[in-house]
Amino acid sequence: MSAGPAIVVDRVSKTFRIPEERTHTLKERALHPMRRSRNEVFTALDDISFQVDSGEFFGIVGRNGSGKSTLLKCLAGIYGVEAGRMWCNGRLSTFIELGVGFNPDLAAFDNVVTNGIMLGLSPREARARYRRIIEFAELEEFQDLKLKNYSSGMYVRLAFSVAIQVDADILLIDEVLAVGDASFQQKCFDVFNDMRTAGKTIVFVTHDMGAVNRFCHRAVLLERGRMVAIGEPAAVGQAYLELNFGREVHQHADGTLSRIGNGAARVQEAWIEDEAAGRWAVYSQGYPVVLKALVSFEREVTDPALKVTFRNAEHEIAAVASTATAGAAGTFQAGQQAMFSLRIENYLAPGRYFTDVDLVRTDNSLDLIDRYLDTLEFMVGGVSSLGGYVDLPYAASVERVESAETASAELR
C-alpha cells in the first residue's frame, strides 16, 4: 500500500487577516492615505504536520470552523500559507465543489470539456471521454439540454461523472460524497472503493465520522486549527465525539438553584461510568454502563430508590431503570450517606441521551425526594441501528417451512 508519501505537510500555518475597517474604495484610500487599517489576525491552521502515504484513503475531520476546509484549500493550492511547506507526489485534483465552471446556459458537451480542462484533462482527452461520462451519469437522453434545465440530481451526476474521469494520482475531496439518488450513491461508493483498490491517494474532508469509518485508512482530527488526533479512524472518531459533546458533560449547575423534591435527602453527586470506572462522553453500545449516585440524608427516609430516566435527543423517554427492583433498601437516618448503583446493559440506540436522576420513595414513586440538579448527558456509539429507541439483543434464524398444501398433497 505504501510507496513513499503522496503528500507531506510540514509545520503549516495559515492565518487570515480580517481588517477591522475595510476600505472598499479608492476614494477612501485617497482621502485617508495615512490611516492604517488595523487587522485582526485569525489563525485558521496552526502548525499542522502529517503525511499521507501513497495509496492511502486519508480523512480530515473536524467541527465547523475547525480549519479542515482551509487545510484542503491549502493543499489544493487555492490558498497560500504563511509558514511551513507542503509537497505532493503525483498529479493532484481537487473537488471542493462539483461542477466548478459549469455554465447553466450551455449544453452538457461544452461544460464537460471546460470542467475537464479545469480538472487537468487536455481538451482532446475531455472530448474523447465525453461518451463515457454521459453514460456514467445516465444522461444520454438529456445531453442536448442546457444545464439550467437539468434537475439538481442530473446536474450533480454530470459533475461527479466528469470528476471521476480525471486521472489524478491524488484526489482532494470535500464532502461531495452524498449526492444523487440511492442508486447513483451506490455507484459513487463503488467508484470510491475502486479508487481505493486502484491505489489512488484520496484526502477526504468531512464532519461525518460514519464516512470516515467506512472509507478511510487513517484520519486527522482538527479543532480550532490545531491537530488533536491522528491515526486509526476508530480512535479519531472517539476523540471527535468527545470533542463534540465532551465539554457539555459533567458540568454541574449552580447549587443555589431551588431543587425539586421534599428535601428529605440530597443526591450529592451522580455520574455514569463504564465497568472499569472510566467516565466517558461516549459509551459503546453493547457494553454495560454503571450509573452511580451518592445520596446524603437530611431526615429519616425509609426504602428510598434511585430512578433513572434516559431521554433521547428528541426528549422522548427511551428507557427507565430503578433500584426499587433490588428490594427494600431499609431505613436511613439523618446524616447518613448511601451509594446507589445501577448497572445497565447498554442496548440504547446510538445517539445522544439526557439522563434524569431522581431519588424517590418506593411506596409511592410520585413522591419525589430529590432530583439531581444536573442532567447527565452522554452519547451511545455504535453501528447504525435499524431504528427504534433501543436495539434489543436478539437471535435471528430463518427456516424453510413446507407449506400446508404441499404437505397435504404428500399425504394423499
Binding site: 493550492g77 507542503m86 465552471g101 487536455s122
Partner: protein, 294 residues
C-alpha cells in the same frame, strides 16, 4: 502517527505545493482554459438569443450611425474636406470598432475576477486566465466586426493596399495595451470597488481624447506641434491614426509622421510596454490573495 520530523529530507517528496499564482508551469492548460472560457462566452452571445450576433454588432453600428449623422450630416465637422478625409465613413467605423474592442475588453475585465469567484475559490488555476479570457473574447468580437468594416470599405471603394498587412501588428499592439489595462483593473477591483465607475468615466474621456471621430490631421493645423506630439503619445491615438493611414488612405499622415519620425513611435510603444508591465506586476502581486480577499 506520521508526524514529520523537523529535519526533513526534501528530496523524493515530489512537487512542492505552492499557493495560487498568476502564472503556471503548465502552459498548455493555461491556454486551453483561457481559450475555452472565451469560446464559451462567445458561444453564449452568438447562440444565446435569437438575434445573437446581430446584437453584438448593433452597438458599434448604432454608435457609428449616430456619430455619422450628427457630426457629418448635421454639424458638418468635416466641412472643409481635406484629402485626408477621404472615405470618412470607413475611417469612422474602423476607429469605432477598434475603440469598442478596447472599451469592451477593459470594461468587462474590471469585474471579471470578482465575477468568477466561484472558480477562484474552488479550484487552483493560473489566475491570469480570467482577464486574458476577457480580452480574447473581445478579440473574437473584433474579428467579426472587422469583417463588417472590410465589407463596408470595399463597398465605399477603398482600394486594397499592401499596407493592410499592418493590421495584425496594430491589433496586437492594441491587444497588449488592453491586456495591460485589464490586468491592472481586475486586480485593483478586488480591493477597490469604485474602480468600475471611475473606469467608465476614464473610458468615456479616452473615447474623445482619441481620434475616433475627428482625424488628427484635420486639427493639426490649429494646434502647436508639441500638442500634436503629446496627443499622439496616447497609444490609442497611435493605433487609430495608423489604422486610418494604412487601411483607408495614405493621404492622412501616419502615426510616425505625426510624432515626428518613425523612431519616435518607440515612445507610445514604450508607454504600452510600461502599462503592460505595471498591470502584470499588480496582478501578479494580488493573485495569491485573491481567493481570500473576495
Amino acid at each position: 502517527m506520521s508526524a514529520v520530523e523537523s529535519t526533513i529530507d526534501v528530496s523524493g517528496l515530489g512537487q512542492p505545493i505552492r499557493g495560487p499564482r498568476a502564472l503556471t508551469d503548465d502552459w498548455s492548460r493555461f491556454w486551453h482554459l483561457t481559450y475555452n472560457i472565451a469560446r464559451n462566452e462567445f458561444k453564449l452571445r452568438f447562440f444565446g438569443s435569437v438575434l445573437g450576433y446581430l446584437w453584438q454588432l448593433m452597438r458599434p453600428l448604432l454608435l457609428f450611425g449616430v456619430l455619422y449623422v450628427f457630426f457629418v450630416v448635421v454639424a458638418r465637422v468635416n466641412g472643409q474636406k481635406g484629402p485626408g478625409d477621404a472615405h470618412y465613413g470607413v475611417q469612422l467605423l474602423g476607429s469605432i470598432v477598434l475603440f469598442t474592442f478596447f472599451a469592451e475588453a477593459t470594461g468587462s475585465a474590471v469585474r471579471s475576477v470578482v465575477e468568477r469567484e466561484n472558480l477562484v475559490r474552488k479550484i487552483e488555476f493560473p489566475r491570469l486566465v480570467i482577464p486574458l479570457a476577457v480580452v480574447l473574447l473581445a478579440m473574437f468580437n473584433l474579428g467579426l466586426n472587422l469583417l463588417v468594416v472590410l465589407v463596408f470599405a470595399l463597398a465605399e471603394g477603398v482600394t486594397p493596399m499592401l499596407s493592410w498587412l499592418e493590421l495584425p501588428v496594430l491589433i496586437g499592439f492594441l491587444a497588449i495595451l488592453a491586456t495591460g489595462v485589464a490586468m491592472l483593473l481586475s486586480a485593483l477591483f478586488v480591493q477597490f470597488r469604485d474602480i468600475q465607475p471611475i473606469w467608465e468615466v476614464v473610458s468615456q474621456i479616452l473615447f474623445y481624447a482619441s481620434p475616433v471621430i475627428i482625424s488628427i490631421a484635420t486639427v493639426k493645423s490649429k494646434i502647436s506641434a508639441t500638442w500634436v506630439h503629446l496627443y499622439m503619445l496616447n497609444p490609442l491615438a497611435t493605433v487609430l491614426q495608423q489604422f486610418r493611414h494604412a487601411m483607408v488612405t495614405h493621404a492622412t499622415p501616419s502615426a510616425g509622421a505625426l510624432l515626428g519620425s518613425w523612431a519616435q513611435l518607440l515612445e507610445p510603444v514604450a508607454l504600452v510596454a510600461a502599462i503592460f508591465a505595471i498591470g502584470f506586476w499588480v496582478f501578479n502581486r494580488t493573485a495569491p490573495d485573491i481567493a481570500e480577499n473576495l
